[in-house]
C-alpha cells in the first residue's frame, strides 16, 4: 500500500495536549491485537461514539503536543483505522510522532494551524509539498520540514511495507551513508 500524495477531507479540530490515554484507553488497547477493533475506541476519552461519527478521509487538526504520554502505537493505529488519513498539529509528542511515520500515518507539524482551520472545514494535505491547504479560499500553510527518509518511509506506507520492499530498514541505509 502506497500513501496517496494529496489527501482531501473534512477536519476534526482538537485542542492542546491530547494524550494517548484520551486517544485510546489502556483497558481497550491491551485486550486486542486487531487494528479494526482498536479503531472502535478512537478518541474514547472525548467521545465513546466517535468511531460512528468519523468518516473515511477525515483529517485531524490539533493543537500543541498531540499524542503525549504512553508509547502505545495503538493510538496512531486507532486513528488510521478509524478512517482518518492524516494528523496535522501545532506540535507532536515525540513517540507518537515516530510511531505515526512507522505505521504510515502522515503527521504534519504546522505551527498556528488551529487558528486557521475550523471544525469540518474541507482541507487538503499535500504530501509532496508537505503543506496543508484550506479549500474555501485556497490558502496554503507549509508544514515544518522533516528528514527525507521519514518522508520516504511515509510514501512507502510505513515500516512493514518498507521492509517488504527493501529487505532492510531506512536506518540501515542511513548508517551506510553516515549522515549528521
Amino acid at each position: 500500500m502506497t500513501a496517496t500524495e494529496v489527501l482531501q477531507g473534512r477536519s476534526w479540530l482538537w485542542g492542546d495536549d491530547v494524550n494517548t490515554d484520551i486517544i485510546i484507553p489502556f483497558r481497550f488497547k491491551a485486550r486486542t491485537n486487531d487494528p479494526v477493533e482498536m479503531a472502535k475506541y478512537c478518541m474514547y476519552g472525548f467521545d465513546p461514539e466517535f468511531y460512528k461519527k468519523v468518516k473515511k478521509g477525515d483529517i485531524f487538526v490539533a493543537g500543541k503536543n498531540f499524542g503525549g504520554g504512553s508509547s502505545r502505537e495503538q493510538a496512531p493505529v486507532a486513528i488510521k483505522y478509524s478512517g482518518v488519513t492524516a494528523v496535522v498539529a501545532e506540535s507532536f509528542a515525540r513517540i507518537f510522532y515516530r510511531n505515526s511515520f512507522a505505521i504510515g500515518l502522515p503527521a504534519l507539524e504546522v505551527p498556528g494551524i488551529t487558528k486557521e482551520i475550523e471544525q469540518f472545514d474541507e482541507i487538503e494535505v499535500n504530501l509532496v509539498d508537505w503543506s496543508v491547504k484550506r479549500l474555501k479560499d485556497g490558502r496554503v500553510f507549509p508544514a515544518l520540514e522533516v528528514t527525507g527518509f521519514l518522508r520516504e518511509l511515509l510514501r512507502e506506507g510505513g515500516l512493514v511495507e518498507y521492509y517488504k520492499a527493501h529487505k532492510s530498514f531506512p536506518w540501515e541505509r542511513l548508517a551506510a551513508t553516515t549522515i549528521g
Binding site: 491491551a30 491485537n33 502505545r72 493505529v77 506540535s91 512493514v160 521492509y163 530498514f169
Partner: protein
C-alpha cells in the same frame, strides 16, 4: 576516536553518549543531527509486545538479531485479568519460545532491567514510554513504539535525533516528608507537559548526592511526563556503590563537558521544596499539598514503576504502622518488582500494610493503567503515586486522579482525604 569524544568539553551528556555510541563513533554530533545507534538491551511489554510481534511477523523477518538482548516482560496486566489478556500473554510466551529470547513475568520492566541488566553507557530501547528510567544509571534509555521495536528486533539498530539538553541543578537537602517525586513534580509543574519534549534532561548539582539510585530512577522515569527523550544522572559514587552491590561494571562512563551548551537551565532548592500534588487531568497542574489538603478520596494507590521501590514502601510503612486506613477509602499498594515484594515480606512491611487495612498486591502496572487491581469507577476520586492522571487513565472517564509522592499518598490514606505527610513523619 571514541576517547576524544568522551573528553570533548563542549558536549552535553546526550550529545556525548550518542556521538560515542553512534556507528563509527568518529565525530561529535550536535542537536538536530540524525544518526544510528546499536542497541545493547531492548524491551517490550505485554501491551506493546503483541503488536510488535504482529508487525515482526508481517515483515516476514525470521529471527532476532540477538535473542540474548531481547526482553519480553509481562507486567502490565499480570497475572491476566481475563481471557483476552491471557491470549495476548500467550502470544508473547510463544514468541519468546520460538525466538529464544528472554521472558520476564511479574516484575515491572523498568525495575527488572535496573535490578538485573542495566549499566552506565548502555543503549536501551524500550517499547514503553517510561524506559527513560534507565537514565538513572547514566545510560541512553528511551521509549519507542511497537513497529520500531520490531525493526530493532530484526536489525539491532535504530535511528535517533540528537536532542537539545536541559540542565537542572539541584541544591541543598530534602526536608522531612519531601522526596524525589516532589522534585520531578515541581519541575513538570514549571515547564509543562511538553516542556521537555524531544529533550535530554540532565540532572546536576550538589543535591544529586542526596538521591539514591531508587530516587534517581523515580525522577528519570517520571521525567517522561514532560515529554523528554532522556533523563540522565552521570555516574558518581552512589552509582559505583550500587553497581558494586549488584556485581556489574559500566560499559562506558559519560560525563557532560564543562563548556556544554544547554537550551535551558533550571535550579531547584531541595531545602525549600514542599510536598507537591498534581490536580486531575494534566500532570503539569501542580500545587503544594497545603493548597489541596482536605480533598476527600475514594481510593489511594501507591506503587507503579515511578514509585514502587523499596525506599518508597519503607516510607509508606513508617506512616501506616500501627494506624488504620480511613474507613470508606481503599488503599492499594503495588511494588515495582518481585524482588521488592520479597524484601517487603522479609522486613515486615507487608505485614504493616495488611494490618493497616491496605491491599498489598503483586508487582504489576495494574491500577496505574486501570487494567486490573484497582481500576476506578464513575466519578471516583483517587490520589496516586503513579505517573499519569489523564482522563480515563485508571478507569472511568469521569474519575479524577491526583498525583503525589508515596508519603503524601500514605498520609492521605489515613485521613481519607489529601493530607500533609509532614505531620506523620
Amino acid at each position: 576516536m571514541q576517547q576524544s569524544i568522551l573528553n570533548d568539553d563542549s558536549l552535553t551528556f546526550a550529545e556525548k553518549i550518542i556521538s560515542a555510541r553512534a556507528e563509527g563513533g568518529e565525530k561529535p554530533l550536535h542537536p538536530g543531527d540524525i544518526t544510528v545507534l546499536d542497541a545493547d538491551l531492548v524491551m517490550a511489554q505485554d501491551s506493546t509486545g503483541p503488536l510488535a510481534i504482529k508487525v515482526f511477523n508481517e515483515m516476514g523477518v525470521e529471527k532476532l538479531w540477538d535473542p540474548s538482548r531481547v526482553h519480553l516482560v509481562i507486567d502490565h496486566t499480570f497475572p491476566a485479568s481475563d481471557e483476552k489478556v491471557a491470549n495476548l500473554h500467550n502470544l508473547v510466551r510463544q514468541f519468546v519460545k520460538k525466538m529464544g529470547c528472554r521472558l520476564v513475568e511479574g516484575s515491572i520492566s523498568h525495575q527488572h532491567l535496573l535490578e538485573n541488566h542495566l549499566v552506565p553507557g548502555m543503549v536501551l530501547f524500550g517499547a514503553d514510554s517510561h524506559t527513560s528510567q534507565g537514565g538513572a544509571l547514566g545510560a541512553f534509555a528511551t521509549g519507542i513504539g511497537s513497529s520500531e521495536m520490531a525493526g530493532v528486533w530484526a536489525s539491532g539498530k535504530l535511528w535517533v535525533r540528537v536532542p537539545e539538553s536541559i540542565k537542572i541543578n539541584l541544591l541543598g537537602s530534602f526536608r522531612k516528608g519531601v522526596s524525589a517525586r516532589d522534585v520531578i513534580a515541581r519541575f513538570i509543574g514549571e515547564v509543562g507537559e511538553d516542556g521537555g519534549n524531544y529533550k535530554s534532561l540532565e540532572w546536576n548539582g550538589p543535591g544529586v548526592r542526596e538521591l539514591s539510585i531508587a530516587s534517581r530512577a523515580c525522577i528519570s522515569n517520571n521525567s517522561m511526563e514532560c515529554g523528554c527523550k532522556l533523563s540522565v544522572f552521570e555516574p558518581d559514587t552512589t552509582t559505583r556503590e550500587y553497581l558494586h552491590t549488584v556485581n556489574r561494571a559500566p560499559l562506558m562512563e559519560v560525563y557532560a563537558g564543562k563548556k556544554a551548551t544547554y537550551k535551558e537551565e533550571f535550579e531547584i532548592d531541595l531545602e525549600k521544596l514542599e510536598p507537591q500534588v498534581a490536580q486531575p487531568g494534566n500532570v503539569d497542574k501542580v500545587k503544594t499539598v497545603t493548597e489541596l489538603q482536605g480533598q476527600p478520596l475514594d481510593q489511594v494507590f501507591i506503587g507503579s514503576s515511578t514509585n514502587g521501590r523499596y525506599e518508597d514502601l519503607a516510607v509508606v510503612a513508617s506512616i501506616l504502622k500501627d494506624h488504620k486506613v480511613k474507613a470508606g477509602t481503599r488503599c492499594i499498594i503495588t511494588p515495582a518488582s518481585r524482588a521488592i515484594f520479597e524484601q517487603a515480606i522479609d522486613t515486615g512491611l507487608a505485614e504493616v500494610f495488611m494490618k493497616s487495612g491496605a491491599v498489598f498486591t503483586n508487582a504489576t502496572c495494574g491500577a496505574c493503567v486501570g487494567t486490573h487491581l484497582g481500576a476506578l469507577g464513575e466519578n471516583e476520586i483517587c490520589i496516586s503515586s503513579s505517573p499519569r492522571n489523564y482522563v480515563g487513565r485508571m478507569g472511568a472517564t469521569s474519575a479524577q486522579i491526583y498525583l503525589a509522592s508515596p508519603a503524601t499518598c500514605a498520609a492521605s490514606a489515613l485521613e481519607g482525604k489529601i493530607a500533609d505527610p509532614r505531620e506523620y513523619l
